[in-house]
């Protein structure tokens, strides 16, 4: 029998705000435990939440980027369950009236384009972090109260590859919207996966299991692959799938049961009486919409049509909004988009990767790259020298013309000077001269190389070839 898996994802994304969701505490990552806390985020008696307007804005921005509907009225609710990392033993979340509804994420897997529908996006507060020691446990509440957006997809995915593509596309869009750092290692993007399988062609869904604790995209893919295989195995050996929550163990690469439906929480949602409903004005939503960046997919298409670069280049450049911005600035300033694309893809991204740097830290200004391209295009710099200049720009920043001058790299296009170098090369390499006259092209390249060496790389290579040909003909 063949099986079809149905997968839905709940993705939690920490919003990039200065302060927490309901208090003024800092959201910074990596501080000493329990230093970013106050009576509100510690759930002290009498403390009350106050809404962070920035978090509302960032959630709505995300919703607009993902084509969600933004209801003008939404509200917060209390979700009750006891856990040591939950200061109040209820989480302020959104139950039946979230900030964003519907929407979708476009993915491409094996050349096939699909739109994955979203159910909703709601806003809630993050919980603390439990830590376990030899004979005791502790909780770090620095993270408690950080604004957390939950993006819920429809059960609309079918393969591990689709799940991974969905997450990658989602991350790209959220980075474009500048709402989150989407850093999985720092835990500011996390996801839970619901998986069920059913016989191919069946119109009912199988019993689902929820998988938690994946902290890389690869982990999600592996967990989904493992869980599909496990469920098929259970069913094919005559067993039944039980509705449960399972934990992914990245070391053993297996899932194991955390709790079954019988232990499931009754969250006892009710409207948060300490907060007023969120009432948005149409004009406010439109004002936010007006500041949205172009989505990555649209940008890819535009880069091809506007700059005439290959689709492949457009995909690489648009993957990161900041790289795309860098490219467009350099392309416009230089008037040579393909050269700008080549420099960014082959030199800049390679160096960033090698040196484990982020584009935010890059020292090359787009205008400097444009100037470098201009020097090459104008014949003032040959490509080898240009690479040297770029390396210098990448290491130290600065102005290409000044670097060229300081390093004495200006291309020699003076035919008299080049002729001198050619004469010297001819005298020193009689064998090559003979080979050249016998029609060996290798010898021609060798002689050009000798001239370049003698000119310390500055001779215009095109002129060198012409002069050699003239003198030896």
């Amino acid at each position: 029998m063949s099986w079809v898996a149905t997968i839905g994802l709940e993705t939690h994304v920490q919003l990039h705000t200065e302060s927490k969701m309901f208090c003024a505490c800092c959201t910074g990552f990596g501080a000493a435990p329990n230093t970013h806390v106050c009576p509100v985020c510690l759930g002290y008696p009498g403390a009350m939440p106050v809404m962070n307007g920035k978090a509302i804005e960032l959630t709505v921005r995300s919703g607009l980027m993902l084509s969600c509907e933004i209801p003008l009225y939404s509200k917060f609710d209390r979700k009750s369950y006891f856990y040591p990392d939950m200061p109040k033993n209820y989480q302020i979340s959104q139950y039946d009236m979230p900030l964003c509804q519907g929407g979708g994420v476009d993915i491409t897997v094996d050349g096939q384009h699909r739109r994955i529908e979203l159910t909703r996006i709601h806003l809630e507060e993050d919980v603390g972090k439990s830590m376990h020691f030899k004979s005791s446990s502790g909780v770090d509440f620095n993270r408690a109260g950080v604004p957390l957006m939950e993006i819920v997809s429809e059960p609309d995915l079918h393969t591990p590859e689709e799940a991974m593509a969905y997450l990658a596309a989602l991350k790209q869009i959220l980075l474009y919207a500048e709402v989150s750092d989407c850093n999985l290692e720092e835990g500011n993007m996390r996801c839970d996966v619901n998986i069920s399988i059913a016989p191919a062609g069946s119109d009912t869904l199988g019993t689902k299991a929820e998988i938690k604790n994946m902290n890389t995209f690869r982990g999600v893919q592996n967990a989904v692959r493992y869980e599909i295989a496990r469920q098929i195995d259970v069913l094919e050996s005559g067993g039944r799938i039980v509705q449960e929550t399972r934990r992914w163990d990245p070391d053993t690469e297996m899932t194991s049961s955390m709790r079954t439906k019988e232990d499931a929480h009754d969250y006892r949602y009710f409207p948060e009486p300490d907060l007023m409903p969120v009432v948005l004005a149409e004009a406010q939503i439109e004002a936010w919409r007006a500041t949205l960046p172009e989505p990555p997919a649209a940008r890819r298409e535009r880069l091809v049509s506007e700059y005439g670069i290959p689709e492949y280049d457009a995909g690489v450049l648009a993957a990161d909004k900041r790289v795309g911005d860098f490219f467009e600035e350099a392309a416009r300033a230089s008037g040579n988009a393909k050269a700008a694309s080549n420099w960014i893809m082959t030199e800049m991204l390679r160096l960033l990767g090698e040196q484990e740097m982020d584009i935010a830290d890059v020292r090359v200004a787009p205008a400097a790259l444009a100037e470098l391209i201009g020097l090459v295009d104008g014949g003032a710099l040959n490509s080898n020298s240009a690479k040297e200049v770029f390396a210098e720009l990448f290491a130290e920043g600065g102005d290409p013309k000044a670097i060229v001058a300081a390093k004495g790299l200006t291309q020699v296009s003076d035919s008299g000077a080049i002729e001198g170098f050619v004469q010297q090369a001819i005298e020193e390499n009689p064998q090559s001269v003979e080979d050249f006259r016998n029609g060996k092209t290798k010898a021609a390249k060798f002689l050009v190389g000798q001239v370049m060496r003698l000119s310390k790389g500055k001779a215009n290579p095109k002129m060198v070839g012409e002069i050699i040909a003239r003198l030896l003909s």
Binding site: A47, F82, R268, D274, L275
Partner: protein, 482 residues
């Protein structure tokens, strides 16, 4: 040194004495601490005193006054219900579960009083987490009614009421979720105001039922209630449910007459179940108001009969979540470590909460449970809207509504401990107002034949504090209260 008679000393008179130099804050605070020492062994109104801190605050107030400064409450001692956070002081909420907790911050109302120059002498007893109407649910001690020590002072702000009514506080703060200021004020013969929901910030008030709780003054006079209200009222960025409404000069509203005012009598409130002496006193008070120039008309609050059921659904639902935070993890009492956190919670909460609190947490958990949520919680919210509409319609026709505060005067200690339902019904005239969210003041209107105080409730519309204070003040000044 003059000796103060705290049985009747008002904030207003004390401020005059302080301003004229007739007395000093230190003298008054010392006198008060002595009075507490003499009387509180019987009353058990206070759960903790901060004599040293209060004297230091009094000294500072005297120093400021000597330097030519003044303040709305400069040098005036105020007793604080043990449910409000006062930085550096314990805040037990009458519970064992907050053993060892010391507040790290001031409630906004406390910060405002502090800024106005108030002195915080001590913390008053209460029903555990404000759940109760007799203060017998305190896990610390049983407070007694100053008019008869065999009787309850009411609750949950019973400590504050007994302290004011018993002459061991100039004024006090209470909190009112279903009548917890007005009912004990009525039982102990003092004035108690429940302001409109949102009038005073709840930040720092340990929540019982967040959509019903309000802080309010308990005082010897209506004027004092107006003074304290003015000191605490106003919008607070720390409390999103506080309302940005201008704070009027409440004492200016105290004109002493009721000319041009229309007062409503809800026909549903003078029916069977109301004690004959209470009914007679309130009817006499109504006549007095007519004599003072008010027009009296009958109004209807038809959904009142559903108020108690609605109140106990909504209040317990909110309480079940509000009290979830008391788990022994971050502060307060913690049971010995068990097998896992859930086990530790269970034992901490079993040991730390008293029976009434447990009853209400269980009730609240039940009404929010899946399968019951719509039948109870949602229905409760709908009825609440109807109750609110009752008041809106009544206030279209009158400026304030007169009712008894409670169906009976105070009961004997122990009399209703085993009959919670009977006790809940005592909230009928007060809890309705919390559900609707408007304001009401309790003012003494006589005594029973056995000498127990009876209270008149003046209910006003949203932000109608000036109106209800005007009515209560005119009535109080007419001399008919004792």
């Amino acid at each position: 040194m003059m000796s103060c008679d705290f049985n009747s000393l008002t904030i207003h008179d004390l401020l005059e004495q302080l301003r004229s130099g007739e007395t000093s804050s230190v003298e008054v605070v010392q006198g008060l601490i002595e009075a507490i020492g003499a009387r509180d062994d019987d009353l058990k109104a206070y759960v903790s005193l901060d004599a040293e801190g209060a004297l230091a605050q009094a000294q500072e107030a005297d120093r400021k006054r000597a330097a030519g400064e003044d303040g709305l409450l400069l040098g005036v001692p105020i007793a604080i219900k043990d449910v409000l956070n006062v930085s550096g002081q314990p805040c037990t909420c009458g519970s064992q579960i907050l053993q060892g907790y010391v507040a790290p911050y001031d409630a906004t109302a406390i910060a405002k009083l502090r800024k106005a120059g108030a002195v915080f002498v001590g913390r008053t007893n209460m029903d555990e987490f404000a759940m109760g109407g007799t203060t017998e649910n305190s896990s610390i001690q049983v407070t007694r009614n100053p008019h008869d020590l065999d009787y309850v002072p009411g609750g949950s702000s019973g400590g504050s009421a007994a302290a004011v009514g018993g002459g061991i506080a100039v004024a006090a703060l209470g909190t009112d979720t279903g009548g917890s200021i007005r009912q004990p004020a009525a039982f102990c013969g003092c004035v108690g105001l429940k302001p409109t929901y949102g009038r005073i910030s709840r930040y720092g008030l340990t929540a019982f039922a967040s959509s019903l709780d309000q802080i309010g003054p308990m005082t010897h006079s209506v004027r004092d209630a107006a003074i304290l209200l003015e000191a605490m009222a106003g919008v607070d960025p720390m409390d999103s449910s506080s309302v940005d409404q201008p704070v009027p000069d409440y004492t200016a509203a105290l004109t002493g007459d009721l000319t041009g005012m229309t007062l409503g009598l809800p026909k549903e409130y003078f029916v069977e179940g109301v004690d004959a002496e209470v009914a007679a006193s309130v009817r006499a008070a109504v006549e007095r108001c007519r004599d003072l120039g008010a027009e009296i008309l009958e109004v209807s609050l038809p959904h009142t009969e559903y108020a108690i059921a609605t109140y106990y659904v909504i209040a317990t639902a909110e309480a079940s979540a509000n009290l979830a935070r008391f788990d022994g993890v971050r502060y307060g009492r913690r049971a010995e470590a068990g097998t896992d956190p859930i086990d530790m919670y269970g034992r901490t909460r079993a040991q730390g909460f008293g029976p009434e609190v447990k009853r209400r947490i269980i009730l609240g958990t039940y009404v929010l449970s899946s399968g019951y949520h719509d039948a109870y919680y949602l229905t409760g919210q709908k009825v609440r809207t109807l109750i609110r509409r009752d008041f809106e319609q009544a206030f279209a026709r009158c400026d304030a509504i007169l009712t008894p505060v409670t169906p009976t005067a105070a009961y004997k200690i122990g009399e209703k401990v085993d009959d919670p339902l009977q006790m809940y019904l005592g909230d009928i005239f007060t809890a309705t107002v919390n559900l609707a969210g408007n304001c009401a003041v309790a003012v003494p209107c006589g005594k029973t034949a056995t000498g127990l105080p009876i209270g008149l409730q003046v209910i006003g519309p949203d932000f109608g504090e000036a109106q209800v204070l005007r009515v209560a003040h005119a009535y109080e000044q007419s001399g008919a209260t004792s």
